[in-house]
């Protein structure tokens, strides 16, 4: 199953896990599985229209999905989906 790599900022919303295995053959399906099982993370990743927030990026095989097929990007069973958000600390 594909795996979301969750940053420190958001692991609180997925029972403190830094990796969460999900079901789905596309990013959209994987996100749906993640946010269904952990509803409190949804608003931190997606806006009220269900679109990926613009300060959040997802990378599959080192490539940003925004430069691939967006949420229709296919993911394989062994893929790691890096979920990252802008952070401001300095």
């Amino acid at each position: 199953m594909p795996t979301f790599c969750v940053p420190s900022l958001m692991k609180y919303y997925v029972d403190d896990q830094t990796e969460v295995q999900v079901k789905g053959g596309t990013i959209a399906q994987a996100l749906n599985d993640l946010t269904t099982r952990y509803p409190t993370i949804k608003t931190h990743i997606m806006d009220s229209q269900g679109r990926l927030r613009r300060h959040v990026n997802l990378f599959v095989n080192k490539e940003n999905i925004r430069s691939l097929n967006g949420v229709d990007t296919r993911v394989e069973e062994s893929d790691k989906i890096i979920l990252m958000s802008s952070i401001s600390g300095g």
């Binding site: 940053p7 919303y13 613009r54 080192k62 958000s85 401001s88 300095g90």
Partner: protein
């Protein structure tokens, strides 16, 4: 013509001169170069120290803040002896002690749209050591307009990010983050904490990238983003590409001058009465003591993380962390008066906004949070 090195400098930089990729010419290049470090805090500390040690000829420091005890867990350019001093003065003194052969220019004011182009225009490279979104977007845009690299670093808890945004060769910060998060969605380190050594790691990486750029050696992080996690010691590199629709560095860029970044981000770029939700929504600690003695005392709602209650707490307070508040509103009685608090009033101000927008009207924010309560009412409680 590159500046010559004195005999003392040759001795000092011996270990650089021994590296073929640096050598005498490289060291002279460093002496001839300049770097503007924006922020002299967690990231700015190691960056400034290592650039000074390396012999970067002129280092600019921009910060408006003073040294605070809570800084010393990570801001290693400062010390206990400089608590209360201007950060730029504290850092300048330390850098010149480390290396008296360089120039250090200290600017004690916020880096804003009003001064940024003039300040940064005098430097070869910008190092982003800021701690807020408005100044990050400002630093990026200034770098793009000036055509100089912006060495990026950011931190939160155990996570660090680093890259080099050089719009002449690759993406800029806005290519990756076209918009900031909604106000309050991404906590600051003051709200969520940070492992003290984390900015040391990321800041040193920033210094490394800056030196490589100034020397013109190695492969930089242009077009790559480092995602570092200190807990599992992982270093992930992902590819970054220029956004063809970037509003600042794209071919059809429509932002051609600096904007109001605080308005863009919806948050201040520097401390502006933090801990206040606005006069009509605030209650001071003293006022709260009186209200708590009344016939119908308010509900105290603590929106901090559960582990913070071990540090200090108010008796009888209900704890719902801010991140979970929206999902747990049904547990609150909108007819009952409520006072929301957190550590210093920032998170509780956001909680108040959320509550008010959900129809709760009888809500107040404890101005200054439990830290203010500890200072003014119950000094047995520690501040943190």
């Amino acid at each position: 013509m590159l500046p010559e090195l004195s005999r003392e400098e040759i001795l000092r930089y011996s270990r650089h001169l021994l590296i073929p990729d640096v050598g005498l010419e490289g060291q002279r290049k460093l002496k001839d170069s300049s770097a503007l470090v924006i922020g002299t805090g967690g990231l700015g500390s190691p960056v400034a120290l290592y650039l000074a040690a390396a012999g970067v000829g002129r280092i600019g420091l921009v910060d408006y803040d003073v040294v605070d005890p809570t800084n010393l867990q990570r801001q290693v350019v400062h010390g206990t002896s400089t608590v209360g001093h201007l950060k730029v003065d504290s850092a300048r003194k330390r850098l010149l002690d480390l290396n008296p052969f360089i120039q250090v220019e200290a600017l004690n004011e916020p880096f804003t749209s009003a001064n940024a182009m003039k300040v940064a225009g005098d430097y070869d490279i910008i190092i982003d050591g800021t701690d807020n979104f408005p100044t990050r977007y400002l630093s990026n845009d200034v770098a793009v307009f000036l055509g100089i690299p912006n060495v990026y670093g950011s931190i939160y808890r155990f996570d660090g990010q680093a890259s080099v945004f050089d719009s002449k060769r690759g993406p800029c910060y806005r290519c990756l983050f076209p918009e900031p998060p909604p106000p309050g969605m991404v906590p600051t380190c003051a709200e969520g904490g940070v492992l003290g050594v984390l900015p040391g790691t990321i800041g040193t990486i920033q210094a490394t990238e800056a030196l490589k750029m100034l020397l013109g050696i190695g492969s930089s992080l242009v077009g790559r983003l480092l995602l570092y996690n200190a807990l599992d010691m992982s270093f992930e590199f992902v590819h970054l590409k220029k956004n063809p629709n970037c509003r600042v560095c794209g071919p059809n860029a429509d932002i051609k001058e600096l904007i109001d970044y605080e308005e863009f981000c919806g948050v201040p770029g520097h401390d502006v009465d933090e801990g206040s939700a606005g006069a009509s929504w605030d209650i001071t600690p003293l006022e709260l003591t009186r209200t708590l003695k009344s016939k119908n005392p308010p509900l105290l709602l603590d929106v901090r993380e559960p582990h913070e209650l071990q540090i200090s707490s108010l008796p009888g307070a209900m704890n719902i962390p801010l991140g979970l508040l929206a999902a747990r509103l049904s547990e609150l009685d909108s007819a009952r008066e409520m006072v929301v608090f957190c550590k210093s009033g920032t998170r509780s101000s956001r909680a108040l906004e959320l509550l008010v927008s959900a129809g709760f009207k009888r809500v107040k924010n404890l101005k200054g949070g439990i830290n203010a309560w500890a200072k003014e009412i119950d000094t047995r409680l520690p501040t943190y």
